[in-house]
Symmetry: C2
Amino acid sequence: MENEDNNMNDSNSNYSDNDEESSNNNNEYFESYFDLNVHDVMLKDTTRTLAYRKAIEENVIDFKDKIVMDVGAGTGILSMFAAKCGAAKVYAIEASQMAPFTKSLVKANHLDHIITVVHKRVEDIDESDIPQGKVDVIISEWMGFYLLHESMLESVLDARDRWLKPNGILFPTKGDIKIAPVNLEQLMHERVGHWSDVYGFDFSIFKDMSMHLLQSQPLIEYLKGDTVISEPKDIIEIDFTKVTKEELRDIVVKNIPFSIDDERCTLIHGFAIWFNCYFVGSNSTVRLDTAPGMPYTHWKQTTILLPDVIDVRGAGQIEINIDMKQDEINPRFYELSLSFPDDDDQDENANEDQ
Amino acid sequence: MENEDNNMNDSNSNYSDNDEESSNNNNEYFESYFDLNVHDVMLKDTTRTLAYRKAIEENVIDFKDKIVMDVGAGTGILSMFAAKCGAAKVYAIEASQMAPFTKSLVKANHLDHIITVVHKRVEDIDESDIPQGKVDVIISEWMGFYLLHESMLESVLDARDRWLKPNGILFPTKGDIKIAPVNLEQLMHERVGHWSDVYGFDFSIFKDMSMHLLQSQPLIEYLKGDTVISEPKDIIEIDFTKVTKEELRDIVVKNIPFSIDDERCTLIHGFAIWFNCYFVGSNSTVRLDTAPGMPYTHWKQTTILLPDVIDVRGAGQIEINIDMKQDEINPRFYELSLSFPDDDDQDENANEDQ
């Protein structure tokens, strides 16, 4: 067996935890490196990155000769897409230690006459950073799990209010959060049910423990399309060009109805939540769809598991209430609560993201 | 982007770190749970588990009506295999918080008249635990990465010296550690080379950083069979029935030669290390082989990457020295050093497992 250090080299981000001496020598280096791994994951999410590229390339008219701001630019890939499409000027705003590397990348790609990397939080930018005063376009990849986890959107809204020209373009422009009941028999078998038969022995005593842990947090897993067993419904549609931070503090939707088709629906293990984003350009609208069964993204889907599997055969319709409440102490987190209207006084399930 | 909490629900073991309040309420529960996840990985390693079952089933003669000790029994799966093959008595020694669960599993499988779970470190067992005084067979799954990482073997050797009858059976009985040069072009492209072209842009400045981190620790990766580009050689053969702890403190082998076939060998990125274990029974010998290209095990292979890729075309033969030295402060770790005989005075590469 190898019951510790199992991830000895699986996660580079653990390096600095594991080797203090080396870490002290390389603190800055590995702080940068940690960022790099994150950005590597982002860049390798081709569904995500190519949606941005498509949105920019299909709407060259919105970028050509325009002033662009990229909020949370990271490696600067979106800024480079914009520059290649003829932007007159791109401000790549990046607060992390990635920024000096972003500068080097911009230079290495001979785009430093167009792209200016600003090593600041977007909230701290002033007129000296953006001499033009306002920008024509803001692009940003700020989305978290189920859209709102991480809440980087708030920075984008700040940037929008301070720096975007009236009728300027915001990419992504709008989005919606979807929810649907899911049947997770296969996943449940792999994670829980397999304990029934372990090489011919009965290990069922571990089922409750496995299930308890599985239910203790939202499940971030990529689900196949056929796990969704009723038409997805909107929790909310958000127009990023207009929405306020306050409107996102506590999103409560009651009595979302799902029709039950007895041919398809039998058991419901939980409700999956995901999002779409739309890039509404002058020429075309591009959609980034993170639904189950759509091309994989690192956002996967977020599933709230029910405490008990429910059998909905013959139910005709079921309704749920959902509450997505921003955490007051750590606004980067949301508390997701799901309940059935009949039991309105008590939550059927509540998961706080950690 | 979702640049933190990326593994929000990927690793159950993080739960107790992330949710202090819940952790305090469930400390014991989740301490157990953490173990469960580890054992789940072990049990799902079918190559590993089925090798033990095959070794026991093909050598029923060694187990029938015999007294068996299972050192570090975990869930007790090996003890159950032995019991099913007719062992008169099995002592399942388990020091961790898994032990009470192991007892429940044994009972659930109606094997509690045969298997006695002893919740102790094997070093702390005394005659009151093993009334027979000595056992006919010791089984244990103690192997770590490249066999010796984790060094649980020392506990097995203690058990052997104190509890195994003369000429008793020890499973596994012997093992060897193999080494071979490997070409990792594909892996290097995925981890490092891809920075050359990121959606048409040049991100090469990240190559050195990626490579530095990749080389900073031994690489634990499952390698395909065709990555091995010269006949593997033994670093050491170990007879577990005879070896002493002292003999494993510092394993130094000089001038291990690898012949270079110009048709196959061009570039060497490093040297991969893995092991075989042999279960030598009265009826048959079963081998567990963790070589590149063999069925996947959670041990994968351990590769020491060279600081620079070397081109060995036309070399005819290359030689290396290897030093596997147990860490004095933390004997669970080994320091792996690899050098070329010509540069004997200085290590070409040294990796300390952390």
